[in-house]
Amino acid sequence: MKTIITMCAVLGILFSHTLYAEEAEETSEKKDTTSAISRNIQNLKNEVLELNRDLFILEEDLLFSANTQVSVFLSVDVDTLFTLDSVQLKLDDKIVSNYLYTDRELKALNQGGVQKLYIGNLTTGEHELTAFFIGQGPSKRNFKRATTKVIDKSDSAKYVELKIVGNSSKEQPDFVVKVWE
């Protein structure tokens, strides 16, 4: 008898979904509560998401109006020639951003993600943007490179993309600044 019970217990672990009536009732009640909680949480998450979006829009409308706004993005097209440690960004010789990358962020960049490095305001006219890239280049050598670009700020928002691209002929990375209107 004991053997059968034991066997049934083990077989039960493997195949059976059967529950005793009492347990089943309790579980179904628990499931109802769980799904009510889950629905509640979903609604809450959505409400906070929408509020978060509205607040970001409010912040941008208030702080970075379209005619003065300038945004700097960073993207990586290659991950074999250069491992990024940090980026320093200067606008008209003034440091506006210093960013140190985590492994997770680098992975996200290498997968095709684009980082919004800086958002600020600029008056119309010419401005000098300089970016310093610090990291490890080919053969794990420490690597520091700067790139400069004069951007002509018009009265519409300006988007600048800093791109790290591979240059297989030089076996070194290239740092490109692209300006989008």
């Binding site: 034991t6 889950s38 809450l44 509020l51 979006r53 829009i57 912040e59």
Partner: protein, 628 residues
Amino acid sequence: MNSNMRHFHFIKALLKAGALSLLVLTSGLRADQKNLHQVQDLDYGVSLFHFYQQNYFSAITDLLVADHYQRIKSEDKNPYLLLGGLYLSYHLHNKSSEVLQGLLDDEETNISNEIRDRAWYLLAKDYFRNNLFSDAKKALLKISDTLNQEDEEEKLYLLNTVYLKEQDVNKAKEVLDEFSDESIWKVYAKYNTASFLVQTEEGADEGHRLFDEISSIQSENPEKLIIQDKASLALGYLSLKNEDSEAALEYFNNIRIDGTETNKALLGLGWARYREKEFAKAIIPWMSLASKTASELTVQEALISIPYAFEKMRIDEQAMLQYELAIHSYKYQLSETLQLHKFIKSPDFIKQLSAGNLGNESMPVESVIKKINPLMTTYLLSLMTSDEFQEAVSTYQQVKHLKYRLDHWKSGVPALQMILQEKRKTYKNKLAKTMGDSNLGKVETLSKRKDKLERELGEIESKEAFLELVTDDEVVQLELLKDNNKRLKALRGSGEDITEQENKQRLLNGLLTWKIKTEYPIRIWAAKKELIQLSRAVADMKKSMISLKSSWTSAPQDFSQFDRRIANKEKQIQNLSKKVQKAVVRQEKHLRSMTLHALKLHRNQIKLYHDRALFAKARLYDSLMAVK
């Protein structure tokens, strides 16, 4: 779903009853979208940057903000596919299906088959997660042939599972033929189908055959090896059930000695020997099991089975000793679980389930669980590795993150108000200065002068008054010729011969008039061109003036709008903060009650073994006394 994730789910599934049910947690968004961003897709890339870090909250926000400013101009509607997938990853199922269904229902935009297929695929996963199997099936069947190999295999796995849920085993079996031979998904689907079949009378043999196929797979893949062990285990216990101990022994012996099924196999081995009345041989695997973590069900079972086998061999003293050892072990476990009970009720339990950094929105649940009180992993491992518990922990962390976000904005609102106040002050000062500038009055004068010039040029053109367009030099020359004329007239009266001078005067006059007349078209064209430029300059100045005036008049209104928006959001933050706080408390309560419930079941199980051991010991003692 990557290999690790699948492995993780598989381990979880092992601790569950029944078939291998793999929850489809990932959104199906893939890293193969690498470097697809183009000129206008920087914001799309920013969202991906957060998505790849599993920061779904930020990724969704970025995409929604970009959508508000219409910054993503891709014509292929990729952003909506991404948004749908992000909602799915963030477990916002209603929003996910709303976005994906919207994408599929939009007849105005022609989306490619590839995007359509991915949308159906994500939607199917969404339905699947919500246990809407019929809808999931419909969505899966709409997918054509554009999915990549991995997703196609997962699609088939989902379809197989859906058919099994609907008890349509024939269709489930048909799906098995569609997998590629090496597919890991096929092994999962085959196992689930086999599990389903062995529970039916008519399909038992076929289920057995499928298990056999799995158990004889030649592979080094650790995931496949686990399923192989699981299939052998199932076959072993099925053979025991069918009273075929020899076959059972063979199947149990096929299981690896260091796998996840080892304990269950050792237990089974003992029972197979026991059935053949080979009690001494039955004790060997059970003894090996008894030396392992005592809190496991199989070990507890072995602890009480060992003395029972000794009794059968009539080695009563050893049986008595083993009963005592078992009772001691059960008592120790009951005492430890009591400590665990106290811990779960203490604030430390919740503290240990909280992520270290609330600003980090993607703390993996496993890393939190790893650091928790070791008694939890000793006694409640199956709960902790269950989807239900992990989802509850993940939800708790998400709610705490919502709280963190709201607190962040709560402290940010005064800053926004201050900035607005400063802007208002600066703007007012600047505009007042600009509007008070005397130069502004000159704009009107300039405009009038331009109008006058326009009229004059019109008259010159209509009358062809070429003399009106002479240059300063020509004016001087004309004056000179005029004076010469006067002098020649005077000389003519004095009787002097001035024929030569008169001829020269005529020639010069003619030359100048010819030059002025021939250059007239060029001059009128140049004058017109200058007038056009002047008109433009005046128009620009007027535009700037209008803009300035409009700013002057609309600025107070704009600032009031900002005031209203900030006040409105502040109120929303306060309301939502209360709701989130309640949700945090509710989720803590839910986590605690779920854990206590599992602990209660576990304790009951130990108590049961304890009572059975006590009873058996007493019975043995009585029988020994009776003999004496």
